[in-house]
Amino acid sequence: MIPERKTIASILRRAPGILVAVLLIFWAIVQLYPILYMFMTSVKTDKQILNAPFALPDPLKLENYILVWQGDRVAQPFSTFFLNSSIITLGSLAILLFVAGLAGYSLARGRFPGNAATQQGFLLTLAVPVHVLIIPMYFFMGDLGLRNSHIGMMLVYATLGLPFTIILMRAYFLSFPRELEESALLDGCSRFGAFIRVVAPVSRGAIASMAIINISWIWSELLFALVLLDQQGVRTLPLAVAGYRPASMTSESVLGQQFAIMSLTALPLFVFYFLFQQQIRKGMTAGALR
């Protein structure tokens, strides 16, 4: 009798633990399944997708990927979109990090009139919803010849990322040791030379974490791309995903290809997340003020 009562008591005592485990496992399935389904479906034939939605792909077909990459059945080869997205993301990051680094450094070090006011200004721009900008942007980017241009997109994305990247960079440079730059200045470096040759290389950790915070939203951005890129040849991946909209699931035969496009768009960010998950989550906690 006694051992049995013991077990009942111990089950009751562990009940919250079991409940918690059930909750966690349930939610993990809810979160993971659609993502697995996306990748799994991308390597199936359309027949399999409709007739055996739960089954594992058999045989595993990479044909969907090859077809979309080369541009069969979709107007433009997917490789073009992939290249466009890569160029725009990397270019935006380069401009953003350079400009924000200089500005953050200036705000952290310089004791000039207007420093505090400039910071207030940057804080205010954080509160501007970007939707408000799209209509005038559409017209004057056209006037400047920056519509349907990679450079134009890079400048826009870099600008949108500036306010909070500057604020974070400034916070970082406040704790940066002065001795390093001062010895460079004594050696005859200019301020800019000291920044490029001494400060920036030593700060590559901080600069990398700024890149990490910004890369995912730039890669995924849809609204400005929709407005400013209306020619097929310059379009980015989110546009390719959003524009892929065949009628209904039954009447078409390109399902697998759509899933291949979605998977290819998500994949770089997933790889990136696998590699840097600690830094990404930490960065998001800091970047939450965005």
């Binding site: 200089l102 000039f112 400039t118 954080l126 870099a158 995903v241 998500a266």
Partner: protein, 291 residues
């Protein structure tokens, strides 16, 4: 002399300031200006004073979009923060596999929103979409729905996707908050013979309250700006039942070429979101100046 010594700092600041003036301040001002004109993008624009705003406040589709935006923002905030809190508290019990759960729950946040939306369009599809297929195969066929295809359920279905994608975000932040509670407080609590429910009620929740409030406000502001999810999933339909301010603005401007009218929508959006964000920054006293 002073200025010359400071010149280099101004030069360092210049690219950032120029870019923000050109691609943020200038379009913002032009947007405010355009709201007082009627313009189709081609003919010379015509000054109409407050007419755009008067029309806007008589436009039931505008009120619909505003209502849907607020519903979306409130429910997706409650959903993501609520689930995020639950998950954070569960993980903080040092369950086995905590690192794995943390990894999985943040994974959907990394998905580009356009991909999430396109994926869920497929999941929600009536005949072959996984949601209905699954309900059928576990004998719950009576729960099958039309989801984003019918007016009654469309907005709710879109909100559910937002909660699915973003609950990992508040989770990470709240978890950081919970883990920063000093260990000796927990020890003192357990010495006092407090049970778990009491510990959550009197220790954990009060201590993470500031984080909870700030993540809720951030999530709310973020949700007010919803565009991608709605645009890719429903384009605001069916019958405008998921139309939000972002998609309403986009359609008025780039589908109907009513640039002045759409700018009036932009001004309203700006007023709402800027005010909420500004008040939040003031309340949180986001430090900007230290010397």
């Amino acid at each position: 002399m002073d200025f010359r010594r400071n010149l280099i700092w101004y030069l360092f600041l210049a690219p950032a300031v120029i870019m923000l003036l050109m691609f943020m301040a200038l379009p913002l001002i032009q947007s405010l200006e355009l709201a007082f004109f009627e313009w189709n993008g081609l003919r010379p624009r015509e000054y109409v004073a407050l007419e755009n705003f008067e029309d806007l406040f008589d436009d039931r589709f505008f009120w619909g979009a505003l209502r849907h935006t607020l519903i979306f923002a409130v429910f997706s905030t409650v959903g993501t923060v609520g689930i995020g809190l639950l998950l954070a508290m569960a993980i903080s019990r040092r369950v086995r596999g905590a690192a794995l759960y943390r990894f999985i729950f943040y994974l959907p946040v990394m998905l580009p929103m356009a991909v999430t939306a396109a994926l869920w369009v497929r999941m929600y599809e009536q005949n072959f979409g996984m949601l209905n297929v699954m309900l059928r195969s576990i004998g719950l066929a009576h729960l099958e729905g039309t989801w984003i295809a019918s007016r009654e359920t469309a907005l709710g279905s879109v909100i559910a996707v937002a909660v699915w994608q973003f609950s990992g975000f508040p989770m990470i932040i709240l978890l950081a908050g919970i883990e920063s509670i000093p260990e000796d407080l927990h020890e003192a609590a357990s010495l006092d013979g407090i049970n778990e429910a009491q510990r959550i009620r009197y220790l954990t929740l009060p201590l993470i309250r500031p984080v909870l409030i700030s993540i809720s406000v951030l999530q709310f502001i973020f949700s007010l700006k919803v565009f991608d999810l709605v645009w890719v999933m429903t384009l605001g339909g069916p019958a405008e039942s998921t139309s939000v301010l972002g998609t309403f603005l986009y359609k008025e401007a780039f589908r109907k070429q009513e640039y002045g009218y759409a700018s009036a929508v932009a001004v309203v959006m700006f007023a709402v979101i800027f005010t909420v964000t500004y008040v939040y920054q003031r309340l949180m006293r986001v430090e900007a100046v230290e010397f």
